[in-house]
C-alpha cells in the first residue's frame, strides 16, 4: 500500500501543482489573429478594476525603498480543486507585518484588447472567455499587477494627473 499511496499523491501533484505544458505558443498560433498587436504576455488589462484595501498612495509602504521586493502576488482558488483561481491578491510583507493591499477578481478581470478582437469578430465568445482566463492565470499578469500596485502605492496623486 506504500507505493499505492505514493501513486495517489503523485497523481494529485501532477494534476494540480505542476504546470507541465507551456501553452503560449500554441494558443497564439491557434487562437490569436496573425497580425495581433499584442502577445498574451504583453496584453494590458484594466487596472482600474483593482481594488485597494489600503489608502493609495500609502504614506509608509509607498516610501519603502524595497517596495517591489516586499510585495508578493498570490492566486486564490475558490475550491481546492478548481483549475482557475478566482482572485489575485497582492500582499505587503515587511518583517512580521503582512497585509493584503490589493485584489482583482477573475469575474471583473477585463482585457480590452480581447474585447477589441471580439468586437471585430476575430474571436468567438468561447475563445474570448478562454483567453481572458488564460491571461488572468498568466505569469505576466502577476508582474503587471505587482508593478501597477507598487506604482499606485508610491506615486503621489498630483503626479498621476
Amino acid at each position: 500500500m506504500m507505493i499505492t499511496g505514493l501513486s495517489f499523491l503523485l497523481f494529485l501533484l501532477a494534476i494540480y501543482k505542476v504546470p507541465l505544458f507551456k501553452r503560449d505558443g500554441a494558443i497564439e498560433r491557434n487562437m490569436m489573429p496573425e497580425n495581433a498587436e499584442f502577445t498574451i504576455a504583453s496584453m494590458p488589462f484594466r487596472v482600474e478594476r483593482i481594488v485597494y484595501y489600503v489608502p493609495v498612495p500609502h504614506h509608509t509602504y509607498g516610501k519603502d525603498p524595497h517596495l517591489i521586493d516586499n510585495l508578493t502576488v498570490e492566486y486564490v482558488k475558490k475550491k481546492a480543486f478548481d483549475s482557475h483561481p478566482f482572485a489575485i491578491q497582492v500582499y505587503y510583507q515587511n518583517g512580521q507585518e503582512r497585509k493584503m493591499v490589493a485584489e482583482v477578481l477573475s469575474h471583473r478581470f477585463d482585457v480590452p484588447y480581447l474585447d477589441t478582437l471580439y468586437g471585430e469578430n476575430l474571436l468567438s465568445k468561447k475563445e474570448y472567455e478562454y483567453l481572458r482566463l488564460y491571461k488572468y492565470n498568466h505569469p505576466s499578469t502577476k508582474d503587471l499587477f505587482k508593478n501597477e500596485v507598487a506604482k499606485k502605492l508610491s506615486t503621489p496623486i498630483y503626479q498621476m494627473k
Binding site: I3, L10, A14, F81, S83, G119
Partner: protein, 525 residues
C-alpha cells in the same frame, strides 16, 4: 499558509512511514500503479492546459480509473480495500458538488456489484462496503454543501464589495477632475468619459441634455458609431492611457454624427409629453426602459435606436439641471438596477458641477457684456486687444460713432437714445458674424476687432454696417440713423494699443468732418 503546508507534508510523511512499518515496500507489485498514476496525471495536466472546461471531469474520471486499476492490481481481499473509492468520491464532491459525489458513489456501487457478480464477494461484504461508502458520501456531501454555500455567499458579497469600491474610487477621481474643470466643454468630457466604456461605468453611449428655462437642449454626447469601433476605442483607452486625466485629454474619434445631432436638439418642456427626456425632467425621476420605442425621442434622436436605456435627471437644490441618457447598444449588456443606482449617485455630483460651471460662465459673461447693447464691454475690448498684440496676431480695428447721437437724445428723449444703441449693437453683431467681435467702447462709440482680416475686408464690413443701419426704423424718430467709421491695422499702422486707437479715432474724426456716414481707412503717410 506556509506553516499549514509544512504541517501537511509532515502529516503525509508520517502516514507513509506508518504504512511502510506495517506493509513494507512492494515495488514489483505496485510499481505499475505508480506508472499508471503518472500517465493519468500527465493526461489530465494536458487537458487542464488545453481544455480547462473538461478539467474537473477528467480529474474525477481519472481518479476513479486509478482506483479501479489499483484494486485490480492489488487483488485485495481486504474488506477495507474498497475504501480507496473514497479518493475519487472526495475529489468529485469537492470539485463537482452533490451531483459529482452521487455519480461517483453510484459508479463505486456498480464496481462493487460487478466484483461480487463475476469475481465473488460475499453478500455481507458487499452490503457493508456499500454502507460504509454511503455513510462516508453523506458526510462528505453535507460538508461540501455547507462549504459550497458559504463560498458562493462570500463570493457574491466580495464581488458586490469590489463593484462598490471601484465606483467609489471612480467617483473620487471624477469629482476631483470635475472640480478642476474651468469650462463646460471640459466638464462635458469628464462627465461623459466617466460614464462610458473604456474608463468608468462602462456604458456604450452617453448623452447629456441641459435645461434652460422651458427648454431642454442637447449639450454633449459620447458614443462610437459601430460595434467594432466601440471595441477598438475601448481597447485603445487602456492600451494607451493609464488614468482618467489622460483619457480625458485624448482625442479619440467618437461618432461626430451623434454629437452633431445632439447639439442641434432643442425640446420644449410644454410640447412633447411622451419624450422620455421631457418626462424625466418633469417628474424628476430616473427611468430604466427595456424594449422602449425609439420613435418617442423625436425625429432627430430616433435614428440612434435607443431601445434599452436609462434616463437619469441631474438634480441640484431640487431643480433639474439636466438629464443623462445612456445605453449599451454595442455589447448589449443589460442595464441593471444597480447600474441605475450608481448613475443616480453620479448624476448628483454632476448636477452640482454643471450648476457651478453654468453659474460661473454666466457671471463671466455678465462681467464682459454690456447690458444695454449685449455686445462685449470696454473691459473685454482691452483684454482682447491685449491678447492679439501679445500673441502677435494681425488684426484690423474699427472705431464707430453714431452720427449726431446727442440730438437723438435731446429731440426724442433718452428712451429713443437707448433704442438707437440697442439697434446699432444688434446690427454690428449681425454684420460682423464670425469674422470678429464688436464691442461697446463707451457712450455712443463702438469698436470692432477683425483678427487676421485685411483692410479691404474691414471696409466691406464697414460698408455693410452702414447699409444695414440705414434700414433701421425707430419708434418715434424720423431722422435717419448713420454711422461714421475709422479703420486702422495692427501691426502695419501702429504697434501699441494706444497709438492704434488714436489713429483709428483720428480717421473717425476725418469721416465726421467729411460729411458723416463715411468710412476712412487710408494708410497714414
Amino acid at each position: 499558509m506556509k506553516h499549514n503546508k509544512i504541517l501537511f507534508y509532515v502529516y503525509i510523511l508520517i502516514l507513509l512511514f506508518l504504512i511502510y512499518q506495517i506493509e513494507g515496500i512492494h515495488l514489483k507489485q505496485e510499481g505499475v500503479i505508480l506508472i499508471f498514476s503518472a500517465v493519468l496525471g500527465l493526461l489530465i495536466n494536458y487537458v487542464k492546459s488545453y481544455n480547462p472546461t473538461l478539467h474537473k471531469f477528467s480529474v474525477v474520471f481519472g481518479s476513479f480509473l486509478l482506483v479501479l486499476f489499483a484494486l485490480v492490481v492489488l487483488e485485495t481481499s481486504s474488506p477495507l480495500g474498497y475504501l480507496l473509492f473514497l479518493f475519487p468520491l472526495t475529489l468529485a464532491t469537492l470539485g463537482q458538488g452533490i451531483y459529482g459525489g452521487l455519480l461517483v458513489y453510484g459508479l463505486s456501487v456498480l464496481a462493487l456489484y460487478f466484483r461480487a457478480a463475476y469475481f465473488g464477494l460475499t453478500l455481507n461484504h458487499l452490503v457493508s462496503s456499500i454502507l460504509v461508502l454511503g455513510l462516508a458520501s453523506v458526510g462528505l456531501l453535507y460538508y461540501a454543501t455547507l462549504h459550497h454555500q458559504m463560498i458562493e455567499n462570500n463570493e457574491d458579497w466580495l464581488e458586490k464589495l469590489h463593484v462598490k469600491i471601484n465606483e467609489m474610487t471612480l467617483l473620487k477621481e471624477v469629482t476631483s477632475s470635475m472640480q478642476s474643470a474651468l469650462d463646460i466643454s471640459k466638464l462635458n468630457k469628464i462627465v461623459l468619459t466617466a460614464i462610458t466604456a473604456g474608463y468608468g461605468l462602462g456604458f456604450n453611449r452617453a448623452l447629456v441634455f441641459l435645461v434652460d428655462g422651458d427648454e431642454v437642449y442637447g449639450e454633449y454626447a459620447i458614443g462610437p458609431s459601430s460595434r467594432a469601433e466601440a471595441y477598438r476605442i475601448w481597447g485603445n483607452v487602456v492600451t494607451r492611457q493609464s488614468n482618467l486625466h489622460e483619457v480625458i485629454d485624448s482625442d479619440d474619434d467618437f461618432d461626430e454624427t451623434l454629437l452633431d445631432m445632439v447639439k442641434k436638439i432643442r425640446l420644449s418642456l410644454e410640447m412633447d409629453h411622451h419624450n422620455p427626456i421631457i418626462t424625466c425632467v418633469k417628474d424628476k425621476t430616473p427611468r430604466l426602459i427595456h424594449r422602449g420605442d425609439p420613435e418617442q425621442f423625436g425625429p432627430q434622436l430616433s435614428r440612434f435606436n435607443f431601445e434599452n436605456y436609462a434616463v437619469v435627471p441631474m438634480i441640484s437644490r431640487d431643480r433639474v439641471v439636466g438629464v443623462f441618457l445612456v445605453d449599451n447598444r454595442y455589447n448589449e449588456k443589460p442595464i441593471k438596477d444597480e447600474d441605475l443606482d450608481t448613475l443616480i449617485t453620479f448624476s448628483g455630483q454632476s448636477a452640482l458641477a454643471f450648476e457651478n460651471i453654468l453659474l460661473m460662465e454666466r457671471v463671466k459673461s455678465l462681467a464682459i457684456t454690456d447690458e444695454l447693447t449685449t455686445l462685449y464691454n470696454h473691459r473685454y475690448y482691452k483684454e482682447s486687444i491685449g491678447h492679439y498684440m501679445k500673441e502677435d496676431i494681425p488684426f484690423t480695428l474699427m472705431v464707430i460713432d453714431v452720427d449726431d447721437f446727442k440730438q437723438f437724445n435731446e429731440n426724442y428723449g433718452h428712451a429713443i437714445g437707448d433704442q438707437v444703441l440697442q439697434k446699432v449693437g444688434h446690427t454690428l453683431k449681425k454684420a460682423v458674424g464670425d469674422l470678429g467681435s464688436p464691442f461697446r467702447y463707451g457712450g455712443d462709440e463702438f469698436t470692432i476687432i477683425l483678427p487676421r482680416e485685411s483692410r479691404e475686408t474691414a471696409v466691406i464690413v464697414a460698408k455693410t454696417i452702414q447699409e444695414e443701419i440705414l434700414n433701421i426704423t425707430l419708434d418715434t424718430a424720423t431722422t435717419p440713423l448713420t454711422l461714421s467709421i475709422g479703420v486702422a491695422q495692427f501691426p502695419t499702422d501702429a504697434k501699441c494699443e494706444k497709438e492704434l486707437f488714436i489713429l483709428a479715432d483720428q480717421k473717425l474724426k476725418f469721416a465726421k468732418e467729411s460729411g458723416k456716414n463715411t468710412v476712412r481707412w487710408e494708410v497714414p503717410s
